[in-house]
């Protein structure tokens, strides 16, 4: 059976050039970068080259890059690192962050750090004014994601960055989804901390980075050896780091071309779906969104049943984030955007990738309409539907 992977927001296949480098370093460059001998020095040189590559890709300096085990750790390190180091203080974030930010904030809240969770509009956006209004004399950190992983909505980070600079408050942004899709330039964004994850940009799983602007001090999350300038202990994952470096280089080199391709595939999909299937609503911002993301509600049918139908045809898509797709809670992002609680989980996220082809999309467009038709045919909501009420994702009946 044909298989079509449209869940690149959950994770991406490793680029073959990256995989080759990782394998080479596992077998050949196996030294411990802390070792003084030639085996160690080779490993350190490879790691430092990767650090330069990552830095270059986001317009940072190599010393500003801390390698971690992934996006989750980078987010934890950024938030706890700043808060714990400060000892006390207020944090500001949004209601639509990834759980690695939200749950970290909740943990900090329990430790006595007051947190403001900014609400978003129906497109999932916060405004710089909201951030400005929330900053108090006690605020030590603002954390707003660059683009949302579920609905793809892009936040006005540069404007928020300007405000934070002016008010003397640190700004962290989770750029896990944006990197490789948007231009990520830490200087023009005026951010102090920025999270990257390898596996979302055709790099390896289990490796990420945190950009830490020069002069910003963090308490480490873990204790051990003095690796990564005492900010992250543990023998460095050299092959993974080298893979991340290569993936970052490719991501920034190929950015315009990739973004164009992603948008073209995504638009072919949304347009095709809207033409072939009625009563479909696009979630998230109509234009300020990631090029690879199409988050859709097929009215009158439930999301998981659509995913099962797609899966049976070899198509991988998701409802909300991969992390919660095993759970039953409705997406906190769609809820924050104002979708009704009991229906927020009716969405389906398609996320295209650099290797997605027009044939892949057309296959989905062949397979999806009959599946939706079949599900609608057994839906009591479809049978009882009233003329379409624009804006609402699914019509709730009384």
């Amino acid at each position: 059976m044909r298989e079509v992977y449209l869940d690149h927001a959950a994770t991406t296949p490793v680029h073959h050039e990256v995989a080759a480098l990782v394998e080479e370093h596992m077998l050949q460059v196996y030294g411990n970068p802390s070792s003084l001998h030639r085996f160690g020095r080779r490993a350190r040189a490879a790691m430092e080259e990767a650090r330069e590559r990552v830095a270059r890709a986001i317009a940072a300096e190599p010393e500003e890059i801390v390698f971690t085990s992934g996006g989750t750790e980078s987010n934890n390190l950024a938030l706890k690192g700043v808060a714990i180091r400060a000892g006390r203080g207020h944090l500001i974030t949004t209601q639509v962050e990834h759980h690695a930010v939200l749950h970290t904030c909740e943990a900090l809240e329990k430790q006595g750090f007051p947190i403001t969770y900014l609400p978003v509009d129906r497109y999932g956006r916060v405004t710089p004014e909201q951030v400005a209004a929330a900053i108090t004399a006690d605020t030590v950190l603002v954390s707003v994601m660059m683009a949302n992983n579920e609905v793809g909505t892009i936040q006005p980070i540069a404007a928020i960055g300007a405000i934070c600079r002016e008010r003397g408050v640190l700004l962290h942004t989770d750029a896990v989804q944006s990197f490789g899709q948007l231009n990520v330039d830490v200087r023009s964004l005026s951010v102090d901390l920025l999270t990257l994850s390898g596996h979302k940009v055709y790099g390896p799983k289990g490796v990420g980075a945190l950009y830490v602007r020069r002069g910003v001090r963090l308490a480490p999350l873990m204790q051990g050896g003095g690796h990564e300038r005492k900010r992250r202990p543990g023998t460095e994952n050299v092959p993974g780091i080298v893979g991340l470096g290569k993936a970052a280089e490719l991501a920034s080199r190929d950015l315009p071309e990739r973004a164009r391709h992603l948008a073209a595939m995504r638009d072919r999909l949304t347009r095709g779906i809207q033409e072939k299937i009625g009563d479909v609503v696009l979630n998230g911002h109509p234009t300020e969104r990631l090029p690879n993301n199409a988050n859709l509600c097929f009215r009158y049918v439930e999301g998981e049943s659509v995913l099962l139908a797609l899966d049976s045809k070899g198509i991988g898509a998701s409802s909300g984030s991969a992390c919660t797709s095993g759970a039953l809670e409705p997406s906190h992002v769609l809820m924050a955007m104002g979708l009704p609680h009991d229906l927020a989980q009716g969405s389906v996220r398609f996320s295209v990738g650099r290797q997605t082809t027009a044939e892949d999309i057309d296959y989905v467009l062949d397979v999806l309409p009959p599946s939706i038709g079949r599900l609608r045919a057994m839906s009591p909501l479809y049978a009882e539907r009233v003329p379409e009420a624009p804006g609402a994702c699914v019509t709730e009946e009384g």
Binding site: Y300, V301, E302, G303, E304, S305, L308, S312, G326, A327, L328, P330, H341, D342, L343, Q345, G346, A377, M378, S379, P380, L381, Y382, A383, E397
Partner: protein, 129 residues
């Protein structure tokens, strides 16, 4: 485990080939339940004669488990007396499907409730006449 599905084969079979989907012309009883947390909505319609469920149809808005449990409950009770049908529980339904994933046990397993509502609705109509 290999590439095991979230749902077992029997659930998937009922999801892809649900029995007794639709609506009855003149149902003797109609039951409808909705789970406000998951958003699942199920409707069961029954045709009863001589105390037996002669026909049954369902319509479901919901996840794979919701559709499969609706389907199998119709299969379980068709031809049964309404007393027997009242003894079918959500637990029986899950068992008949060979099990459901833990988080689905409480959330999307409402088909027996819908059936019971339909039977109650049938009984209340009987009382009225």
């Amino acid at each position: 485990m290999g590439e095991s599905q979230v749902y077992n084969d029997k659930v998937m079979e009922h999801f892809f080939n649900p029995r007794n989907v639709g609506e009855l012309e003149e149902p003797d009883g109609v039951g409808r339940v909705g789970n406000p947390v998951c958003g699942d909505i199920m409707k069961m319609e029954i045709k009863v004669s001589d105390g037996r469920i002669r026909d049954i149809k369902f319509m479901t808005f919901g996840c794979g488990a919701a559709i499969a449990t609706s389907s199998i409950v119709t299969e379980l009770v068709k031809g049964k007396t309404i007393e027997e049908a009242m003894e079918v529980t959500n637990h029986t339904v899950a068992q008949a499907l060979g099990g459901l994933p833990a988080p689905k046990m409480h959330c999307s397993n409402l088909a027996a409730d819908a059936l019971h509502r339909a039977i109650e609705n049938y009984r209340s109509r009987q009382n009225r006449t």
